[in-house]
Amino acid sequence: MKLSVWTYEGPPHVGAIRVATGMEKVHLVLHAPQGDTYADLLFTMIERRNHRPPVTYTTFQARDLGSDTASLFKKACIEAYERFKPELLLVGASCTAELIQDDPGGLAETLGLPVPVVPLELPSYQRKENFGADETFFQIVKTLSRPLEKTSEITCNLIGPTALGFRHRDDVLEMTKLLNSMGIKVNVSAPYGATPKDIELISQAHFNVLMYPETGEMACRYLERTYSQPFTKTVPIGVGAISDFVKEVSEIVEINASNADTYSQLPWYSASVDSTYLTSKRVFIFGDGTHAMTAARIAKDEIGFEVVGLGCFNRELARPMRKFAATFGLDALISDDYLEVEKHIQAVAPELILGTQMERHIGKRLGIPCAVISAPVHVQDFPARYSPQMGPEGANVIFDTWVHPLVMGLEEHLLTMFREDFEFHDEAGPSHHAAHSPGQKNEPQVTEATDNIAENKIIWLKDAEKELKKIPFFVRGKARKNTEKYAENNGFSEISIETLYEAKAHYAR
């Protein structure tokens, strides 16, 4: 039993949902109790998807236990097939259904559905979300792929992007552009955007680009083993990694890659004088293994930061992460306990955190600026604009994103000059980023407000003042103003709770 407050990864079936939702014409029937449908909102709210994830949950209840959960599952399978007519059906169990051992795979097989059915083993009490995605996609590839002639043109598959992935949508586009500039076409991008028919054609590509080892490595290894498709080991995030990636690809398919369009603004932005203030800033880096390692390389070699802490939450990448951190003279932090991560951050006191949504909150609490480099992420990390992490545009996006939470170069100097200034001091935070500034009070000062009132000669009675404080801070200022205006217009000299609500009703819109 492990006490946990926040988790970096969901259970493995959420990984399976990420694969199913990323693909098209696939449906997942998940044997699960009511409540597990919360997973839908990750996709419809956080990622703003315009359709429900293609998942049917059996939503069994206590009264079904022991009697007919198995027939409930079969019914759900048949109805899901009839309604959604998928080309591929995935079946699996969430943590609770795993305990009642109904064997979804076996049950689905007896139904004789006219489409391939892939049973998923998702050990909820041992593994997590990334494993669930990796395993699900591997099983799909194993079921649907078949030996094919290689295409006459040089082609590759993009492997690993899923729904709810950190910038996966844009990375796919950016990678396609980069590969096209080298004269390489994309055969299939999967799971994101692929149909089962696309997966059938996966073996005709010359090689695989493993974009995210977390969610695509098992499939890549299988494809290498079965169809002699090599896969790339470099994840092209950052200028140095892009160049290594291009070299790796050109060796795999034996082409001259001099046409590769790898131009990014990052090297010049880092070299321009304003960026001197970035030099040797102390950064702490934490995320999934892939994003954390690529970030560390950029931080050190492409911006000139000093990396003072490095780690990942996914144990699957612990070994490469440890080896990599050692080259920075660091012991990697491998942990999925956010309290432990917080302790480390507190101990090394970095000037910038590059992390996940968790570290953003840790940073907020500790007053340390943070930029997000990895899942888990929240709705603001699915921007409307094109903002990949991979490829040349990814490098541009990364420079901008990391620098944004920091106080700008000249401003930092001015802060040192005017250290004693009452409104221009380091506690005030970056001037372009007021809302996120560390240590700033969100409420207008009470004394100020009282002064104003004294001028207007309208007195807030104690109870009314107390009542006002109960109103959320972001509308409190407006409520105060409206009430005073209302009192003034009506010739009141005092504001009581009654006046407060009279005014509220008066201004109701």
């Binding site: 988790t7 259970p11 409540g35 209840q61 206590a62 009703a505």
Partner: protein, 425 residues
């Protein structure tokens, strides 16, 4: 309270009972507001990684500041033998209590996996209560999805709290239901102005607020989803007060009136206290609800607030009801609201989400109230939606919030009318 059209309303109307995929939260989700309301309590879910993930996904970033809840995640080793799991739980509680010395009430919250493996949390709570007496009171209840839907988690929690209340013969009023602070205080102020003494509220903000129960206790629910707590109060000898729920001007007046009738508050006092706030609520509602009048409404099952809210939106805002879905209908509790619903609408209980979606597309209502999993997909298909979850987090009860409540529904319609750029997703 003067709907003279029909006394029965929808009280005896047939209920469409459905059993299919339920697109609803489980009872654990209630912890998100309960842990804020009960300031010396900690909620320890004994469950799986899914439970922990649900809590953080549903909570989003709202409560990231030091939450007073956590999950004891069951692992492979715990599933092997029961004795181990009990010991592990005790060790986890010890770890927690040594870190959080401010905790006075610890709720051990059962989940789907803990129920299925029949982990005996009741015995564990008893044992732990003895061990940490008198510093920490350990209470258990189940918020599992196989037994509870969303707000029923609060119900199960309160039921457990009521079970542990001291007996008392004091003539008193107990109000059931967690309310936002501002609403809670307004309610107490109104009741005080009405001359009521001995008013107690469950759940208590802090454990030192003594609440007792007995045959001289009268009680009323401020939330419609407290069926099990209601039954437990009755079992403890307390006498229920029935009324429409205090939403809008009419709802609030009827709710207060029902209390005043029991406690013999005079009509003069009642009118003197309620006239002004009622009138301003009516005026404010009228302003806000213009955009709602005559529009059609479809409510998906979510929190059991649906029937009282439908009553408010129909009776006080002039909306036309198509379907009112509720995860569970406790006829005694929501009866007074059901009676005020117009005949000829669909009342549904439980859910088969795909069939319900078919019905929503058949009717294409002007406004659809639904959960977060459905809202964007429906918006993308041209429907205007209101997230139901906001209704359990926002101050919506009583006179002063009546117009706010109406505007929660008006805003999405307002937005749809303002946006001139289509909505291709």
């Amino acid at each position: 309270m003067s709907s003279e059209k029909s006394l029965a309303g929808c009280m005896n109307a047939p209920v469409l009972k459905e059993r299919g995929q339920h697109e609803v939260f489980c009872g654990l989700t209630s912890i998100i507001w309960l842990h804020r309301k009960m300031q010396d309590a900690f909620f320890l879910v004994v469950g799986s990684r899914t439970c922990a993930h649900l809590l953080q996904s549903a909570a989003g970033v709202m409560v990231f500041a030091e939450p007073r809840f956590g999950t004891a995640i069951l692992e492979e080793t715990d599933l092997a033998g029961m004795a181990d799991a009990q010991e592990e739980l005790e060790r986890t509680v010890e770890e927690l209590l040594s870190r959080r010395t401010d905790i006075k009430r610890l709720f051990l919250v059962g989940s789907c996996p803990s129920e299925v493996i029949k982990l005996d949390l009741a015995t564990a709570a008893e044992k732990l209560s003895e061990r940490y007496f008198p510093k920490v009171n350990v209470i258990n209840y189940s918020g599992s999805g196989i037994e509870t839907t969303f707000t029923q988690g609060e119900d199960a929690c309160l039921e457990a709290v009521i079970r542990g209340l001291e007996p008392s013969n004091e003539r008193q009023l107990v109000i059931l239901g967690a309310l936002p602070d501002i609403v809670h205080d307004q309610m107490l102020r109104l009741l005080e102005q009405l001359g009521l003494k001995n008013v107690l509220v469950l759940p208590q903000v802090r454990v030192d607020e003594k609440v007792s129960v007995g045959s001289n206790t009268h009680f009323i629910c401020a939330q419609p989803f407290l069926g099990a707590s209601f039954e437990e109060m009755v079992r403890r000898g307390a006498k229920p007060i029935f009324a429409p729920f205090p939403f809008g001007a009419n709802g609030t007046t009827a709710w207060l009136k029902a209390i005043c009738d029991i406690f013999g508050v005079s009509k003069e006092t009642f009118d003197a206290v309620t006239d002004a706030p009622r009138r301003r609520a009516e005026i404010a509602i009228e302003k806000v609800s213009k955009i709602l009048t005559g529009r059609s409404l479809f409510l998906f099952p979510d929190s059991q607030l649906e029937i009282p809210l439908a009553r408010f939106l129909n009776q006080e805002c002039g909306m036309k009801l198509i379907e009112v879905g509720s995860p569970y209908i406790h006829k005694q509790l929501v009866g007074p609201d059901l009676q005020l619903l117009p005949e000829g609408i669909i009342i549904s209980e439980g859910q088969d989400v795909d069939k319900q979606l078919d019905r929503v597309f058949d009717h294409m209502p002007d406004l659809t109230v639904c959960g977060l999993g459905l809202a964007n997909p429906l918006e993308a298909k041209g429907l205007t939606t209101k997230w139901a979850i906001e209704l359990v987090f926002s101050p919506i009860h009583f006179y002063e919030q009546a117009a706010d409540l109406a505007s929660l529904f008006a805003r999405p319609i307002n937005r749809s009318e303002k946006l001139k750029i289509g909505r291709v997703a």
